[in-house]
């Protein structure tokens, strides 16, 4: 929860001129929610009849974060049990922090959990320079490698969605999350009615969880850990079977190679474990909770993220590679804001590097807000 007039002023200016906020389709059936500066929690169960009403609310309230349900309801403003769920768009969340990349410690700022003192990233064991406490919360300023990591997952997800699931490109909407990842909104109506169980099965498919050895023809000999190979009648030509066949370099024309691989691994169980490892590696790292919860609210496209001050920004599927969140999604103005830094910190925004070692500095609003939202500075 951020409490800063300077941040709120920058957000207000954005919402006043906003051009990026995207009102969802079937707007009157959606539940909206937002958080306000300085007030914990979220106001939920709101409804806006048209984009004009929504715009007016954004300018009036200047929320720190704005959310909208992917679900459609008959009565979006009633309590959950009475809303009458009518379906929900399929959504996915790829979060950079779930990728556990090796670069993360080099750009994570410890904030002492005892006294709140922030300090620059440390490679060695942490101890608070002010009070000596060894526990801290870490604030990450994602680096280029983090963003590339998320992009890779996003590209893989696109491949699954268009290839395996046959979803048309124009129905796949990809957004930078506004902090450190990507959000997918799928506008293919045939997915709307699926319940959370069905979505969970879909997540398993995309994440590479639950492939049984039999699917690619490895069967256990009764009463032992030995295996024999008998390829499924339907072949290995598509989907996961194809991925595994390529990975193991096998083909349905001969069982010899696969039989040998299983033997080398040491039998059915060992092969099964290896298969698990491979599928997880080839699968996409998506947050299962987000996709399977059909009653949630999800950050709204084009709104600002108070974890960074960046926008949830629409990315073109074909130009995901060249997308740079620190340029494209950095949408706040450049009015000068005086800040007091809590530590020496560094970020590159709109092509300018801000490496601030002084205690006080005057920064353009977009950079000042970024540091304040990260908890590494406060308005002076």
């Amino acid at each position: 929860m951020i409490k800063s007039e300077a941040v709120k002023a920058a957000f207000r200016e954005y919402y006043f001129k906003q051009k990026l906020v995207e009102a969802p389709d079937n707007m009157d059936q959606r539940e909206f929610g937002y958080s306000l500066f300085g007030i914990p929690g979220m106001v939920r169960h709101l409804s806006f009849k048209n984009p004009g009403e929504l715009t007016a609310a954004l300018v009036r309230e200047v929320p720190s974060d704005v959310y909208c349900s992917n679900a459609l309801y008959r009565f979006p403003t009633l309590p959950m049990q009475e809303k009458q769920w009518q379906g929900a768009d399929l959504i996915f969340d790829i979060d950079g922090k779930d990728l556990h990349l090796p670069c993360v410690p080099s750009h994570s700022y410890p904030v002492c959990s005892n006294c709140g003192q922030a300090s620059p990233p440390v490679e060695k064991e942490y101890a608070c320079p002010a009070c000596g406490n060894k526990k801290a919360e870490y604030v990450s300023i994602p680096c280029g490698k983090c963003i590339d990591g998320s992009k890779k997952e996003a590209a893989r997800l696109v491949e699954f969605l268009t290839g395996d699931l046959g979803i048309a490109k124009e129905n796949i909407h990809v957004f930078f999350s506004g902090n450190n990842g990507f959000h997918f909104h799928i506008s293919d109506g045939s997915y709307r009615p699926l319940d959370s169980q069905a979505r969970s099965d879909l997540v398993g498919y995309l994440a590479g969880v639950g492939l049984i050895a039999e699917s690619i023809g490895v069967r256990r000999s009764p009463g032992s850990d030995l295996a024999f190979v008998k390829f499924p009648k339907s072949g290995l030509d598509y989907g996961w079977r194809k991925r595994i066949a390529e990975e193991l370099d096998i083909s349905a024309s001969s069982t010899i190679r696969l039989t040998n691989i299983v033997k080398e691994k040491g039998g059915y169980s060992a092969f099964k474990a290896e298969l698990d490892r491979i599928t997880r590696q080839l699968g996409v790292r998506i947050d299962p909770q987000v996709t399977t919860d059909v009653h949630r609210v999800f950050r709204m496209p084009g709104t600002l993220n108070s974890k960074s001050g960046l926008a949830k920004f629409r990315c073109s599927l074909d130009r995901l590679d060249s997308f740079d969140p620190f340029v494209d999604a950095c949408v706040l103005g450049s009015t000068k804001v005086q800040v007091r830094m809590k530590t020496h910190a560094k970020v590159k925004l709109k092509g300018q590097t801000f490496s601030i070692s002084k205690e006080e500095a005057e920064l353009p609003a977009f950079a000042a807000v970024y540091f304040i939202c990260k908890g590494l500075a406060e308005a002076a």
Partner: protein, 335 residues
């Protein structure tokens, strides 16, 4: 392709609308069932019901027209017997019978006429579009159609990751395709009987139904008895409902979960709500099915406890409520 259904098709799939149409066109009238030479049909119908109730599948398919008629007569008889457990078992048996024929037909890969018939059955009855692969060995269903059904199966092999998936389609063998819709078949036959209104019954059918009911009733005695008397809280809710007054959400929840718990069919529960000022059949049905654990949620909701109902001012206890903790126990203790 236009599809011509022969009597053989109708005998195997007598729940298709075309079966009723066929009888109408042949000029058949119900009163003919009183003719002595129709005794065979009534006899077969009774056999078919008895087989179903004992968990067996009626196998006869020797005379096509006879079996078409037999099926329609069984529906009327089951309706006239009017016992929910009988209907349930019967519907399940019909589903299994049809499943057998469907699987056989799907295996006949190279018969275009057959394929067209099957697409029609899957499309008309289950809203499921199926297509064959070029070599005719496998069937394609849409990923979403697949997920909506398979995710309720528990076997690992039904997880979509274990299927051949490409370009929005899941590829299935004949048996698997049928397995995907098996449950819906029983639900459909069940619904068919519920939706039916009974014609004035020919004497021969009426008598046979009465005998069957008398025969079968003892098996379900306990159930039949336990639902005759509702607990006071439930009675009260029904009265409010029947007066067309608004019933609070919590009371509706109690009423619906109670009715589900005593195995009242969803259709009848939906009926009970029709006097509510804001009644909407589709939504009510959805909600009841949700509570039953068949839509949206996997959990079956249980009846709220007497304690809970007391705090919600929904309890109207009488001395018969003595020492029970859940309305579901009402009238089932001692005596």
């Amino acid at each position: 392709m236009s599809i011509r259904l022969g009597t053989g098709d109708l005998a195997r799939y007598p729940f298709l609308n075309e079966a009723g149409e066929y009888l109408r066109q042949s000029g058949f009238g119900w009163e003919e069932l009183d003719r002595p030479d129709m005794a065979d049909i009534i006899q077969r119908a009774a056999e078919r019901i008895e087989a179903g109730v004992s968990g067996k599948v009626y196998e006869k398919l020797d005379r096509y027209e006879t079996e078409i008629l037999t099926f329609l007569v069984t529906l009327i008889m089951v309706k006239s017997i009017g016992m929910e457990p009988v209907l349930k078992k019967y519907a399940l048996a019909e589903a299994r019978r049809a499943e057998k024929f469907l699987t056989e037909d799907l295996r006949r890969q190279n018969d275009a006429q057959r394929q067209a018939l099957l697409s029609k059955i899957f499309g008309d009855l289950f809203g499921l579009a199926i297509d064959t692969t070029e070599d005719g060995r496998l069937f394609k269903v849409k990923v979403t159609d697949y997920l909506a059904r398979s995710s309720h199966f528990h076997e690992q092999e039904w997880k979509m990751i274990n299927r051949l998936v490409s370009n929005g389609n899941v590829y299935l063998g004949p048996d698997e395709t049928v397995r995907l819709v098996r449950n819906e078949l029983a639900v459909m036959i069940n619904g068919r009987v519920h939706a039916m209104s009974l014609p004035a019954l020919p004497k021969a059918i009426k008598e046979r139904s009465d005998t069957l009911r008398a025969e079968l009733a003892p098996r379900y005695e306990y159930r039949a008895h336990s639902v005759t008397e509702y607990p006071p809280c439930v009675k009260h809710a029904i009265e409010v409902m029947n007066r067309g007054e608004n019933l609070p959400h919590s009371a509706r929840l109690m009423l619906a979960t109670y009715m589900l718990a005593i195995d009242k069919p969803v259709d009848e529960i939906v009926e009970m709500f029709k006097n509510a000022p804001d009644f909407n059949e589709r939504i009510t049905r959805y909600q009841v099915e949700h509570l039953a654990g068949s839509k949206g949620s996997r959990t079956k909701y249980s009846v709220p406890s007497c304690d809970k109902l007391r705090t919600e001012n929904l309890c109207f206890a009488t001395k018969d409520c003595d020492s029970i903790i859940n309305p579901i126990q009402f009238g089932r203790r001692r005596k």
